[in-house]
């Protein structure tokens, strides 16, 4: 069972003359443990793809299945429950509630789901620990650097038992070294069995993915081949 499956997904905004086709019949399957990058220029529909995959928006046509559950059959509240329990989001810049500490931000989905506060905090601390942020648990987002904030956001996106990690330009506001460490974390998270989708226009970020899907005008036009393995580069790569 795939973690995420989009079949013939289309999204149209507006109507009549102002009609905008953001997605046109997109098919995409992401397996557990796989990190897929969706690459495309601005306006290619990549952010829409992510919001639809994350149940934040409904497709105009087509079906989205998360962990085997077709989203079209879920109520608003069931979708919210799905987001609390199975889907983790990382946005480009705005991720954390300023009024809550790092640990509280991370434990928020669990607490919203009704987990006892102690359990939720323990899970949050564990997630922060994995991301090397154990010392920052009780600091407020205002006191964290941009890279740290993004790492806390990832911790929040993976806390608990997640199936799907969705990230929209997760390192967009960061410099390349910080961006790399964020992508490294996303990569490691996926290695633990979570399916990941990262949308970006940046080839360097996309190159962290197992598979890069190219989106143009709401269509998937191409994708990279499944890699042979890490050794291939040194054997076939340019020799000097």
């Amino acid at each position: 069972m795939s973690a995420l499956e989009l079949s013939r997904v289309s999204k149209v905004y507006g109507s009549g003359a102002g009609e905008v086709h953001a997605l046109r019949g997109v098919d995409l399957i992401v397996e557990p443990g796989e990190l897929v990058a969706v690459m495309g220029p601005s306006g290619s529909g990549k952010s829409t793809l992510l919001t639809i995959a994350g149940s934040l928006e409904e497709p105009s046509r087509g079906e989205v299945t998360v962990g085997g559950l077709p989203l079209s059959r879920l109520s608003r509240n069931e979708k919210a429950a799905l987001r609390r329990r199975a889907i983790g989001y990382v946005f480009q810049d705005f991720n954390l509630l300023a009024g809550l500490t790092a640990a509280e931000n991370v434990s928020l989905p669990l607490e919203l789901d009704g987990a006892p506060i102690r359990t939720a905090r323990a899970a949050a601390l564990a997630a922060l620990e994995r991301l090397d942020l154990a010392g920052d648990a009780d600091r407020f987002p205002d006191d964290l650097s941009g890279g740290e904030r993004q790492r806390v956001a990832i911790a929040r996106a993976v806390v608990g038992q997640r199936h799907l990690l969705l990230a929209d330009e997760p390192s967009g506001a960061l410099d390349s070294v910080n961006g790399e460490s964020v992508m490294r974390l996303v990569r490691e998270t996926c290695q633990a069995g979570v399916a990941g989708v990262v949308v970006t226009h940046d080839a360097q970020l996309a190159s962290w993915a197992d598979r890069v899907v190219f989106l143009r005008d709401g269509r998937i036009v191409d994708q990279t081949a499944r890699p042979d393995g890490p050794e291939s580069l040194l054997e076939t790569g340019p020799a000097r």
């Binding site: 919210a80 300023a98 890490p230």
Partner: protein, 836 residues
Amino acid sequence: MTTTLAAPAPAPAPALAPSPAGAGRRAIRRWAWRLLRREWRQQLLVLALLLTAVAATTVGLGVVVNVTSDDQGQFGTATTRIDISNPDLGPDITAARRAFGTVEAIEHENVPVPGSITPVDLRGQSPHGRYGAPMLQLVSGSWPTGAGQAAVTASVASTFGLKIGGSWPVNGRTLRVVGIVENPKDLQDGFGLVAPGQIRSPSGLTLLTGASGTAASHFRAPGGNVVSIMSNGASAAQRQRLQALMVLLLATIGLSFVGLLAVAGFTVMAQRRLRALGMIAAIGATDRQVRRVMLANGAAVGTVGAAAGTALGLAVWFALRPAFEHVVGHRIDPLSIPWWAVAAAASLAILTAVAASWWPARSAARMPIVAALSGRPTPPQPAHRFAVLGVGLAALGFVLLVLAHAQHTVLIVTGIVATTGGMLLLAPLGIRALAVTARRAPVAVRLALRDLARYQARSGAALAAASLAVGIAATTAINAAAQQAADRTLSGGNLPVNQLVVWLQDPNGGPNLHAVAAGTSSAPSPAVIARARGAAESIARTVNAHGTLELDVAVDPRPVPGTVPQDHYASVANPVSDQGRRGFNVLTTPYLATPAVLDFYRIPAARTDANTDILTARNDLTGMQLLVPSENSRFGQPALIQTTTLLPNYTSAPNTLITQRAATAHGLVPQPVGWLLQTAHPLTSAQITDAQHRATAAGIAVETRTAPGDSAQKLRDYATVVGALIALGVLAMTVGLIRGETANDLRTFTAAGASSHTRRTLTAATAAALALLGGILGTAGAYLALIAWHWRDISYLDHPPYADLAVLVVGLPIAALVGGWLFGRSPATIARRPLE
């Protein structure tokens, strides 16, 4: 270094069972509380608005229930008061005891004040009387107990120059002053107090009983004449009903106010939190949880605002009480506040805040998550749809208020709420209209007005709040003017503080001073008149008056048998017919409209109709008849009466004149009765005392202002000022609230090279636009409500207070413009953008 991406075991399908009811409530509450704590600065304006509204309501409640004294100043705890003149004390009291059982008697004796026409009342009353105890309070010293002891009020002490321990010659005996007393229920009541039974020559007797008015109405005093029988019961019930109505009105308006301000505030806050709300929805908060964030915040802000507002209101009330006591003229128990209403207002304020946060919460929860995340507000609803609903609601409110007959409470409350709601819904239309007119305005003005129109939800509520504030101010002003007009018959007292009348004779039936002085009942001789005129002139010189204005009455020279000289005065009277007997009810004695009087009051001859008989400032003389003593056996035509506001509005000033044409036509001749003196400054007590001495020497008397001030008038003035101040304050805060939201725009604006001039223009334009619309809407709303309220007597509103209304409609925008300009600098931290 080989890493194979071992396919992990497929994750189990996520379970979608709903979380336990109320899950995450704690997290939500924690966040709401942190929001309040961390962002208290940003919520300060909302808090301040709520606090102001609640505090104003609390103070208003205290004022409303205490503004009118209960009748204990006259009745004590009795239900019926019988006043008897020239009593025969023993038989009268005995008769009363026989008729009613328990009776408390208060004896009166007149103590003349040298040189003044107003005597002082000396009372024989027990401070521990069965009924009258609440009418007396000891300020200092002790109660008079035996013969020869007296206590006086502070005003009497100053009139006679008395001190505790001093002696007071009264009608041929000397009393020792042992204490200073007051009537706590009527601080303007000036009197002397002796122990019961110590009155030598009683001029009056007051009987207080617990009997009903009907039972008392048959009472006949064997010794004296029953002057009046007053019953407390009906008036007390009516007063209580009125008071309850006022409390209800005030609470309703106050809470509507709280509601509007809260809607404005929470709409702004919801907008500010839009991205955060979108984000928690994105991580899986249900709609209900998103709503709960806003509701919890509303409850928190409401609780803090209501608690602080009530505390502030009570503090202000306690602080203002002494000053307020002097305004209303009676002592106020500081704890005499409608506690239940204050508590209800506070708890309703919290509920209102929660309810007000409900609508923004609902829209935030219903908003598409993606739109919320990007911080894009939903496009404004078309204004005309609101407008139609608004007109409908306002009309409904109007009809309800008309139907309420100023007494049906449910209709009143719903009427006011509907009118307020109508204003809230009409506000966006006004904003739209203003934005349309601004198309050709300079960029800063255009931007300011367009922002108002684009963020209609918040500006609409803010405007409605400002309108209601203006409406309150306008209502008080209009009401004050209407009251003043209605009070024309009562006028602003006997005389203004800078006038003094030297009386030869009191034209309105008081003691004939000359007659009293001379012991005769004939008309004053020319010599007497000349002496009095000389005294008046000497008084005029000592008080630096601008000369003397002679007041003449028109006298019928033809003899009428069996009459005293005053009966020869021409008067304005109301023909009455009682059980077949016809008679006249004399309302006033007009003075002759001599050229000097007309000139003194700057009444141009051209402004007077040729046929006019009577010129008057009073508006209760219409249809009255000119009564000439030798013609009094026949009913005549109603006199031709012309009212003018140029004449003074005081009882002892010439407020009614008979034209010389009419006097000549009826064969009347002038006779001086007094001289009016006017000074540039209010008369001092030293000047008054000096004048009284000079008058005494000449055998005449002077009259000066008796009441320290008309408390109702003063109170209305204060209410108007306070209403305008609250309107201005609320306006300033709402402008702050709205402009605070556009700090980002301001940043961009500054980055684009806008000078501080432009930024000031932006703020000033916003403030002025809101003030102008608020002024117009508020005044219109106030008139709508008042017309409905006084539907059956619309002439009540015949005297719009043009000056006050101009201040609200024109002055407020100008004040807002200037204020916006002065305080509309750029935010201190242009570069710093807070983390949302």
